[in-house]
């Protein structure tokens, strides 16, 4: 069954890491437990949740960095694990780009920004000479960096926000259709963070670029995403339109998460600390149980069934 209205469809994705430590017993980590999600073209899906719940693992699976233990990921209706020919794989790696938390990590300190942008244009779009130069200028301007001052600089000569723009420019340069952004703004100060978010939103709206946006910052998820998925212990416990999920959370973990979003007006003075900690513990115990059953809260808002506390 193929739906053209979806760019990406994740169906029953499960990933089990088998650990065989030098000392101690072999054991397994179920990083993804039967995840099903989809993203329409030109939309953004935000994934938020517990640290260690499998968000980055999900992003890496979509980027085809490893094989799932079971389940499928389909891009434009095509199972990415079934891609065999070199051309098909290369085309997928071009279409899907990752942007990481540390804007420095993906840039080579020995090369100028021009080099970083030229390479993908030469490799994937086979541009040379004048055409290459004008394409470099264009992607640079697209992310609101001044080509005249930026192109000959080295990564360490740029601020974190500027580096993150270069990473997004690179994704534009290769002609990415889907960008997996794994906490792209958490190391940036708020004003730079805002400008990078605005840029991502514009890439989505004017270029129809699709985003898988992984974050701990629920306000930014609400700002940029068309859908939100809340993860806990390898499962998606609740998902849907951000405003529906945020204004009417159903799952105890979603409620807990939203209640913990910092509010500058409420000083942490120790009152309620014990009760918050014991509530968190109770919710964790409950949310850890895998449950196959899903309920539709209202159109566009779903929750996994849970036992009452």
């Amino acid at each position: 069954m193929q739906q053209v209205s979806e760019l990406l469809r994740i169906e029953g994705a499960t990933k089990i890491f088998h650990m065989k430590p030098m000392l101690g017993a072999a054991h397994e980590v179920v990083a993804l437990n039967n995840i099903s999600l989809s993203i329409r073209p030109g939309k953004a899906l935000a994934v938020v949740g517990e640290s260690g719940s499998g968000k980055s693992t999900l992003g890496r699976a979509v980027a085809r960095l490893f094989q799932l233990s079971s389940g499928t990921i389909a891009f434009k209706g095509r199972d990415i694990a079934g891609m065999r020919s070199h051309a098909e794989k290369l085309d997928y790696l071009r279409s899907v780009q990752m942007v990481f938390q540390d804007p420095f990590s993906a840039l080579n300190p020995a090369h100028t920004i021009r080099h970083h942008l030229e390479r993908p244009l030469m490799l994937h779009r086979k541009l040379r000479g004048e055409a290459l130069d004008s394409a470099v200028q264009e992607v640079c301007s697209d992310v609101e960096l001044d080509p005249a001052v930026t192109l000959e600089k080295y990564p360490h000569e740029l601020s974190g926000g500027q580096r993150q723009r270069v990473n997004l420019a690179r994704a534009l340069a290769v002609g990415a259709e889907l960008i997996i952004a794994d906490e792209p703004t958490s190391m940036l100060d708020v004003s730079i963070r805002r400008s990078v978010l605005d840029l991502m939103r514009r890439m989505k709206e004017t270029r129809s670029i699709t985003f898988l946006y992984i974050t701990h910052d629920i306000a930014t998820a609400q700002f940029i995403a068309d859908d939100i998925a809340i993860m806990y212990a390898g499962q998606v416990v609740e998902w849907g339109t951000p405003n529906l999920v945020i204004s009417n959370p159903q799952h105890p973990y979603t409620k807990l998460l939203l209640s913990a979003v910092p509010d500058p007006a409420i000083k942490l003075d120790g009152t309620g600390a014990k009760s918050f900690a014991s509530e968190a513990q109770a919710v964790r115990a409950l949310a850890r149980k895998a449950s196959p059953e899903v309920m539709e809260v209202q159109p566009g808002h779903f929750v996994r069934k849970f036992d009452p506390i």
């Binding site: 430590p21 629920i218 979003v261 600390a273």
Partner: protein
């Protein structure tokens, strides 16, 4: 007199001697932190927050040099300390949770071995005593002592972050510097950890320099907030005041650029 601040920083200037010339990252800042007080430090990235943090502990490395200013902690002139005094003073009087702390544990040492290194080096107690102290600290931060012999990669990010914090607390310092201690954590774990810190602070009475880009969190946790821009402190005020009535243009810009959660 106890109304004297614990930490007093006057005219602190830090230069980087780079190939391209002299770059002044911290351009003469003045601030103080009272006993038991949490001072928040926010501001532009690259404005010099981590540079100040390292300079306070005299952990700055070349090409950075402290070219001017005074740092006084509990009446002691920090810039005049001998290397030997510094070694004793660090961790026992001032400790630090580094930016990206959850990756700052040594991957080849167990959790206990990392505690032991700090405790034994500074207090000269036996391994058994260090172990008892480490267990006690783990209990304080809500991690079962059965995890003491685990390696860092066997703990979740939140647990690693808490271990780093517990090590910073190990010698009951007077000041703890926390440089973005919770960036990699979800808000639930973040809240739990900060509440643990509030509780410990009440017990031990230490002061905190708290650096973060998360202004809402800063408002919740800090008593006073200092805002930094291009190597200078542009505004310092009690949290509630700075939030309700920011004076500096840059402070106002910071607040207004922050996306807020709407629950409506």
């Amino acid at each position: 007199m106890t109304d004297k601040p614990l930490l007093d920083v006057r005219g602190l200037k830090v230069d980087f001697l780079t190939a391209k010339g002299l770059f002044t990252a911290v351009k003469g800042v003045d601030f103080s932190i009272g006993r038991g007080e949490v001072l928040g430090l926010a501001g532009e990235s690259g404005s010099g927050k981590s540079t100040i943090a390292l300079a306070l502990m005299r952990l700055h490395r070349p090409p950075a040099i402290i070219s001017e200013g005074f740092i006084t902690l509990d009446g002691e002139d920090v810039l005049a300390m001998t290397p030997e005094r510094l070694r004793k003073w660090r961790w026992s009087s001032v400790s630090m949770v580094f930016q990206s702390a959850m990756n700052s544990l040594n991957p080849v040492l167990t959790i206990f071995e990392q505690f032991r290194d700090v405790i034994v080096r500074h207090t000269g107690v036996s391994t058994a005593e260090a172990r008892a102290r480490a267990s006690e600290l783990l209990a304080l931060i809500g991690i079962p002592q059965s995890r003491l012999d685990d390696y860092p990669h066997q703990l979740s990010g939140g647990m690693r972050q808490r271990v780093v914090l517990a090590i910073a607390l190990a010698l009951e310092p007077k000041l703890i510097i926390m440089d973005e201690p919770t960036t990699a954590l979800d808000v639930v774990v973040q809240r739990e950890i900060l509440q643990e810190i509030v509780e410990l602070k009440r017990k031990f009475g230490f002061s905190i320099l708290f650096i973060t880009h998360d202004l809402a969190l800063m408002g919740q946790f800090a008593d006073r907030i200092a805002i930094m821009l291009e190597g200078k402190l542009v505004e310092v005020a009690p949290s509630a005041e700075l939030i309700a009535n920011p004076q500096h243009d840059y402070t106002r810009r910071l607040w207004s650029s922050m996306p807020l959660l709407t629950r409506g």
